[in-house]
Amino acid sequence: MKDRFNFYRFASPATFYPLAGALIPFFVAISVLFGLAGLYLGMLVAPTDFQQGEGYRIIFIHVPASWMSMFIYLVMAFWAAIGLAFNTRLSGMMAQALAPTGALMAFISLWTGALWGKPMWGAWWVWDARLTSELILLFLYIGYMALTAAIDDARRADKAGGLLLLVGVVNVPIIYFSVKWWNTLHQGSSVNLAKSSMAQTMLWGMLLMAMCFWMYSIAVALMRVRTIMLERERNTDWVKAVLEGEGK
């Protein structure tokens, strides 16, 4: 054990475990702050939408959840690529820690979409390109979790799961660009950097909610990765030291 200070130090579970533990309260706190500010702007201050009435307020969670469902998948695919290329221990744990949260985000996206679709389109569900590809994303998350859970050897589970993640990543641009590539019932993007079609308070409400969801996802994934670390590294000295440090 050399005392070299470099990037790889943080890739070691023994270093990352206490670091993650220290960061969790910070991410929880800013997630709550962003959430309160976003809900205040979106639910109390923002005006109504002249086409959709008050039903449009569903987008304050629908859009952030949809963004996170795609973003978390990309992050998992990134960790999968790192893990397959460099055979790092931490990357597989990170991907596994993110999967349930990503699946829940995809589920929230579909659920809120259905509750928005019923009054606006007259249907809970249509086999539209956007909706169908988001459903496939949910199945990819579930498939990844089932596959990694079915393989006893953690490193082999990471490899198989990582391949699934990398193959499935093709679905993310399909979701994102589906409203441009095909004639979908789903409306186009409301947020546009050049000119947004939304009122300022609506836009800010949505961005704050997106930050809330983002920080929430980081906090929960850090909580989950710590459990995975203890489980997988249970025979190492550092885990034994952590266990002895825990109160009786």
Binding site: W116, E231, V239
Partner: protein, 66 residues
């Protein structure tokens, strides 16, 4: 500043109450329960690993005593 005239107005959501609160309600539920489940898993994992560790060290002690 506040858009709504009354609390009843806020709850009714212009007739979209069921859809809006159905969305926010389930999302809030998920985001409250997920961290609780994860935290409980952490606790039970630590307790189980500690039991295993104690069992192992007892076994080690017996082996050295013999």
């Amino acid at each position: 500043m506040i858009y709504w005239n009354s609390f009843a107005d806020f709850l009714a959501m212009g007739g979209y109450g069921f859809y809006v609160w159905g969305s926010f309600g389930l999302t809030a539920l998920i985001m409250a329960i997920e961290p609780i489940i994860v935290a409980r898993n952490q606790k039970t994992t630590i307790a189980r690993l500690k039991r295993q560790l104690r069992a192992e060290s007892r076994a080690d002690n017996r082996n050295t005593a013999e």
